[in-house]
C-alpha cells in the first residue's frame, strides 16, 4: 500500500506546487483519474487497486506489530529480573521449542498451499490444507500448554518474578493469537463446506492466511529474542 500512496502523493504534491506556484489552473480531467466504474455501486471502486478488506487487514497487522512490539520491549526490559534464579538458563528446553517453532513454520507452508488452492478455485485442497494448518497450529498450542505446565512445575508461576510475568504475558498473547487463528481456520473450513462465506472465497482464505503468516512471523521474532539470544 505505502509505496503507491507515497509516490502518488509526492507526484501530486509536485504537481500542485508547480501548478499553484504561478496560479495556473488546470481544468482538464486527466484521463487516468476517472475510473471507468463510474456510476456503478458507488463507493465500491478502489482507488489503490487493492481490495478494502486486504488493505484493512494490512493496517490491522501494522497495528498488531506495535502491540507485540510493546510486549517484546517489556520482556526485554525485564528478562533478567528474576532474583530467585529461575530464569531462561534453568528453564528453556531449546530442542523442544525449536521443534514446535518448526511445526508452526510448516503450518505457514500449508497455509500458502491453501491460499493458492483457493485462488485456483480448488475447494477440496483448500479445505484439506486449511484443516492441516489448523491441526499443526493445534500441535503448537499443545506444545505451549506443555511448556507452560513444565515451567510451572519447575517453580515459575505467572507472579513469581518480573521475568515470568512478562514471559507468560508475551507468549500467552501470542498463544491466544494462534488459538484465535485456529478457530478462524476451522470455522472457515465449515463455512466453505456449507458455502456460507459471505464474499469471495479466495479472498477470505487469503485474509485468514495473512493473519496466520503474521502470527508465525511474530513467533519467529519471539523465538529468536526470547529463546535463542542468551540473556
Amino acid at each position: 500500500m505505502s509505496d503507491s500512496v507515497i509516490s502518488d502523493t509526492v507526484k501530486d504534491a509536485i504537481d500542485i506546487v508547480k501548478d499553484h506556484a504561478d496560479d495556473v489552473h488546470d481544468h482538464d480531467v486527466h484521463a487516468g483519474d476517472v475510473a471507468d466504474d463510474h456510476g456503478d455501486h458507488g463507493g465500491h471502486h478502489s482507488s489503490l487497486g487493492l481490495s478494502n478488506t486486504k488493505l484493512a487487514m494490512w493496517l490491522f497487522l501494522g497495528s498488531e506489530c506495535l502491540l507485540f512490539g510493546g510486549l517484546i520491549s517489556t520482556y526485554m526490559l525485564y528478562r533478567n529480573r528474576h532474583s530467585a534464579n529461575l530464569g531462561p538458563d534453568q528453564l528453556w528446553d531449546i530442542p523442544f521449542t525449536s521443534a514446535s517453532s518448526f511445526v508452526l513454520l510448516t503450518s505457514s507452508l500449508t497455509m500458502v498451499l491453501a491460499v493458492s488452492a483457493a485462488t485456483r478455485g480448488d475447494l477440496r485442497r483448500t479445505k484439506i490444507f486449511l484443516t492441516v494448518t489448523a491441526l499443526l497450529g493445534g500441535l503448537f498450542v499443545a506444545g505451549q500448554i506443555y511448556e507452560f505446565t513444565t515451567f510451572y512445575r519447575e517453580g515459575l508461576g505467572f507472579t513469581t518474578s518480573l521475568f515470568s510475568s512478562s514471559f507468560f504475558t508475551l507468549t500467552g498473547f501470542h498463544g491466544v493469537h494462534v488459538s484465535v487463528g485456529i478457530i478462524m481456520l476451522i470455522a472457515l473450513v465449515g463455512m466453505l463446506s456449507k458455502n456460507k462465506v459471505s464474499g469471495d472465497n479466495a479472498e477470505t482464505v487469503e485474509m485468514v492466511g495473512l493473519y496466520w503468516h503474521f502470527v508465525d512471523i511474530v513467533w519467529i521474532i519471539i523465538f529468536t529474542l526470547v529463546y535463542l539470544i542468551p540473556a
Binding site: 502523493t9 501530486d12 489552473h25 483519474d33 497495528s63 510493546g70 518480573l162 459471505s198
Partner: protein
C-alpha cells in the same frame, strides 16, 4: 410463540407464499428507515457521525461539570467542597473524559460524517465496523463512568503513573474501570482508524487524488494513522496494569525489581501522539473554515498537508519531554529537548499559513470564522508557552505546576475545542439543514474566549509562582502576600470557569432555539457560506447515498471551481460566478446515477459492542461474566462474518415489490 389454531373454514391459500412469513422475530434483519431501530442498527456514516457527536457532547458536559467542581474547590484556600479522595477522582476523570470521551469522539464524529462526503464516497469502507466503533465508544464511556456509583472512580490522574495505580495504592475498583474502559474505547478508536484510513486511501471519487483531498480529510487521515499505531502501545500498558491489579503480576511492583518508568514510557509513547490526535482534526476544520470566509484558497495547501504529516512523524519522537523530571539522564533529555523544539517548526508553519490565508482575503466574520481565529490566537499562546518548556532545564521548574495546566489548556481547549466549535457552526447547516443563530453564536464565542482566558490565563502565573498541579487544597502560607497573591489568581480562575460555562451553555441554547418544536428558524440554503470543498456539493442534509451522481473531481476546492469560472487570460486569473451552489447541486440531481447500492443495517455491531463491557465487568467482579461476554462477542463476530452485506428480500416486512438484491434506489 403460542400456536394458534386456524379456523377450519379458512382455506390454506390465504397465505400466498410460505417464504413471505411475517413472524421472523430475532431472525429478521433490521431494515427500518425510521424510529429508534433506524438509529441503533444503522450503518449510515452520517447517522453514526451524529450519534458520535451527541454522545461526545454529553460527555463534554460531564467533564465540564467535573472541571467546575475542581475550580469551585480551589477558589479559596483550604477548600471544603470535595474531599481529597473525591478531588483526585474528579481531576482524573475530568482529563480522561475530556480526552477520550469528548475531543477524540467529537473529532471522530466530524471525520465520520465528512470524510466520505469529502472524498466523494457513498459511505465508509466498512459501514458495519463504523457502527461497531460508535457503540463500542458509547458503551466504553458509560462503563467508565459507572465507576462513580461502584465504589469511586479512578484516582491516579489520567497519566495513571505506576506504582500509584497498583492495587496497594489505589484499592478501589476505580483504576480497574479506567484501565478496562480505555481498552474498550481504544478498540473503538482502532477500528475507526482502520476504517477511515481505508476509506481515504481506497474510496476516493474519480479524480480525487490525495493532493486534491480537502484539508480536513488530510488532517483526519494523519490522525487515524497516529491512532493506528498509538492505540496498541497504550493497550499494552493497560494490559500490564490490568494483569498487575487483577491477576497479581508484578510489572510495576518495585519490591519485585520493576522499573516504574516502564509505564511512563509506554504511556507517553501513546500520550504524545495523542496530543496531536486531539488537535489535528481541529487544525483541519479551521483550514476549511478560514479559506471559505476569506474567499481565498488555503495558502500553501501542500505545506499544510506536509507539516501535518511531519507533525505525525516527529510526534513519535518527543514523548519523553513529559518525563524531563523523571530522571532519564542528561543525554536522553537533551535529545528529546531538541526534538521537541523541532516539532514547533511544522506547527509554526500552520500558523503562518493560516495568517497568510486571511491576508489579502475578503473576510466574513461569521461565528465559525471567529472560532477559527480564536483558535489561531489561543493556540499560538499555548504553542509559545510550549516552547518555554521544550527547554528542559526550564521545564524542571514548570512541569507539574499550573503553568503546564495553563499550557495544555491553551493547546487543547484553545486548539482542539475551539476548532470543534468552529466546525459546529460551519457544518451545522450541512448536517441539519438549518443555520444556527449568529447572534447567539457570537455570545457563545465571546463568552468562551473571555472565560477561557480568565480561567487558564492566571494559571500561567500560578504555575510560575510555584503552585503544583493536582493539589486538592492550597494554603495561604505559600500563596505570597499582597492583593495579587496566588489566592487572587486562583479566585479569578474559578470565576472564569463560570463565564466559560455560560459560554458553552449558549451553544446548547442556540441548538435549542434553532431546533425546538415550533422554531421559526428557516431551512438553510444549500450553500450558505459559498463554500469550496466537495461535501457542499450534496444536498443539506445529504441524502442517505450522499451524492446522486458520483462526483468526478478536477480540482482542489472542486465545488468552488464548479461555481466559478476563470475568465482571465494567461496568468491573469479572474473568477466570475457561473452557477450558484444550488444550481450545481440541482445539475447533479438531474444526472443521478441509475443504480445506487447501500449496505443494509445490522444487529451485530451493537451486540458485539455490548459484549465488551460485560467482559470488563467480569474482569472486575466475576470470571463467569467474562465467559458470558466472550460468548456473546464470539457469536456477534461470527454472525457478522456469516451475514451478507445486503439484506435478503425476506428481511423486509412487507417484502419488497421485486425480488431485488438490495436497496435499489433508482433515480432518487
Amino acid at each position: 410463540m403460542a400456536i394458534i389454531e386456524r379456523p377450519a373454514d379458512v382455506p390454506a391459500v390465504v397465505v400466498p407464499t410460505p417464504t413471505a412469513s411475517t413472524n421472523f422475530g430475532y431472525f429478521r434483519r433490521p431494515v427500518e428507515t425510521t424510529g429508534w431501530k433506524s438509529w441503533a442498527f444503522t450503518v449510515d456514516h452520517k447517522k453514526i457521525g451524529i450519534m458520535y457527536g451527541v454522545a461526545a457532547m454529553f460527555f463534554f458536559l460531564v467533564g465540564g461539570l467535573e472541571a467546575g467542581l475542581i475550580r469551585w474547590q480551589l477558589a479559596q484556600a483550604d477548600g471544603t467542597i470535595l474531599s481529597a479522595d473525591k478531588y483526585n477522582q474528579m481531576f482524573t476523570m475530568h482529563a480522561t473524559t475530556m480526552v477520550f470521551l469528548f475531543v477524540m469522539p467529537m473529532a471522530a464524529a466530524f471525520a465520520n460524517y465528512f470524510i466520505p462526503l469529502q472524498v466523494g464516497a457513498r459511505d465508509v469502507a466498512f459501514p458495519r465496523l463504523n457502527a461497531l466503533s460508535l457503540w463500542v465508544f458509547i458503551f466504553g464511556g458509560v462503563f467508565l463512568n459507572t465507576s462513580w456509583f461502584l465504589g469511586g472512580a479512578a484516582d491516579g490522574g489520567w497519566f495513571m503513573y505506576a506504582p500509584n495505580s497498583s492495587g496497594i495504592f489505589s484499592p478501589s475498583n476505580g483504576v480497574d474501570f479506567w484501565a478496562l474502559g480505555l481498552q474498550i474505547t481504544g478498540i473503538a478508536s482502532l477500528v475507526g482508524a482502520i476504517n477511515l484510513i481505508v476509506t481515504v486511501l481506497n474510496m476516493r471519487a474519480p479524480g480525487m487524488s490525495m493532493m486534491r483531498m480537502p484539508i480536513f480529510t488530510w488532517m483526519a487521515f494523519v490522525v487515524q494513522m497516529l491512532l493506528l499505531f498509538a492505540i496498541p502501545v497504550i493497550t499494552v500498558a493497560l494490559f500490564l496494569l490490568m494483569f498487575q491489579r487483577s491477576y497479581g503480576a508484578t510489572f510495576f511492583s518495585v519490591e519485585a525489581g520493576a522499573d516504574p518508568l516502564l509505564w511512563q514510557h509506554l504511556f507517553w509513547i501513546f500520550g504524545h501522539p495523542e496530543v496531536y490526535i486531539l488537535v489535528l482534526p481541529s487544525f483541519g476544520i479551521i483550514s476549511e473554515v478560514l479559506p471559505v470566509f476569506s474567499r481565498k484558497p488555503l495558502f500553501g495547501y501542500p505545506f499544510v498537508v506536509f507539516s501535518g504529516a511531519a507533525i505525525g512523524f516527529v510526534g513519535w519522537g518527543v514523548w519523553a519531554h513529559h518525563m524531563f523530571a523523571s530522571g532519564l539522564g542528561p543525554v536522553s533529555v537533551a535529545v528529546f529537548s531538541v526534538a521537541t523544539m523541532a516539532i514547533a517548526v511544522p506547527t509554526g508553519v500552520k500558523i503562518i499559513n493560516w495568517t497568510l490565508t486571511v491576508w489579502g482575503g475578503k473576510l466574513w466574520f461569521t461565528t465559525a470564522m471567529l472560532f477559527a481565529i480564536g483558535l489561531i490566537v489561543q493556540f499560538t499562546i499555548g504553542g509559545l508557552s510550549g516552547v518555554t518548556h521544550a527547554v528542559a532545564p526550564s521545564d524542571t521548574q514548570q512541569t507539574d505546576t499550573y503553568y503546564i495546566v495553563a499550557h495544555f489548556h491553551y493547546v487543547i481547549f484553545g486548539g482542539a475545542v475551539l476548532g470543534l466549535f468552529a466546525g459546529f457552526y460551519y457544518w451545522w447547516p450541512k448536517v441539519f439543514g438549518k443555520l444556527l443563530s449568529e447572534t447567539l453564536g457570537k455570545w457563545n464565542f465571546w463568552l468562551m474566549i473571555i472565560g477561557m482566558n480568565l480561567t487558564f490565563g492566571p494559571m500561567h502565573i500560578l504555575g510560575l509562582q510555584g503552585q503544583p498541579r493536582r493539589m486538592y487544597i492550597w494554603t495561604d502560607y505559600r500563596a505570597g502576600e499582597g492583593f495579587f497573591n496566588l489566592g487572587f489568581w486562583n479566585l479569578i480562575a474559578s470565576l472564569g470557569t463560570i463565564v466559560l460555562g455560560v459560554g458553552i451553555f449558549m451553544f446548547l441554547v442556540n441548538v435549542w432555539v434553532t431546533h425546538r418544536p415550533g422554531s421559526t428558524t428557516l431551512a438553510a440554503p444549500e450553500d450558505p457560506w459559498d463554500a469550496r470543498s466537495l461535501e457542499w456539493m450534496s444536498t443539506s442534509p445529504p441524502k442517505p447515498h450522499n451524492y446522486d451522481r458520483t462526483p468526478i473531481v478536477h480540482d482542489l476546492d472542486e465545488f468552488f471551481h464548479r461555481k466559478y469560472e476563470d475568465v482571465g487570460e494567461g496568468d491573469d486569473h479572474d473568477y466570475v460566478l457561473r452557477a450558484s451552489g444550488a444550481e450545481v447541486i440541482a445539475e447533479e440531481e438531474r444526472n443521478a446515477d441509475a443504480h445506487i447500492h447501500l449496505p443494509a443495517p445490522s444487529y451485530w455491531p451493537i451486540v458485539l459492542a455490548a459484549a465488551l463491557p460485560i467482559m470488563a465487568y467480569g474482569v472486575i467482579y466475576n470470571t463467569l461474566l467474562i465467559v458470558a461476554g466472550a460468548a456473546v462477542a464470539v457469536m456477534a463476530m461470527f454472525g457478522w462474518a456469516l451475514e451478507p452485506a445486503d439484506a435478503e428480500p425476506s428481511d423486509f416486512d412487507p417484502p419488497p415489490p421485486e425480488p431485488a438484491t438490495g436497496t435499489e434506489l433508482a433515480n432518487v
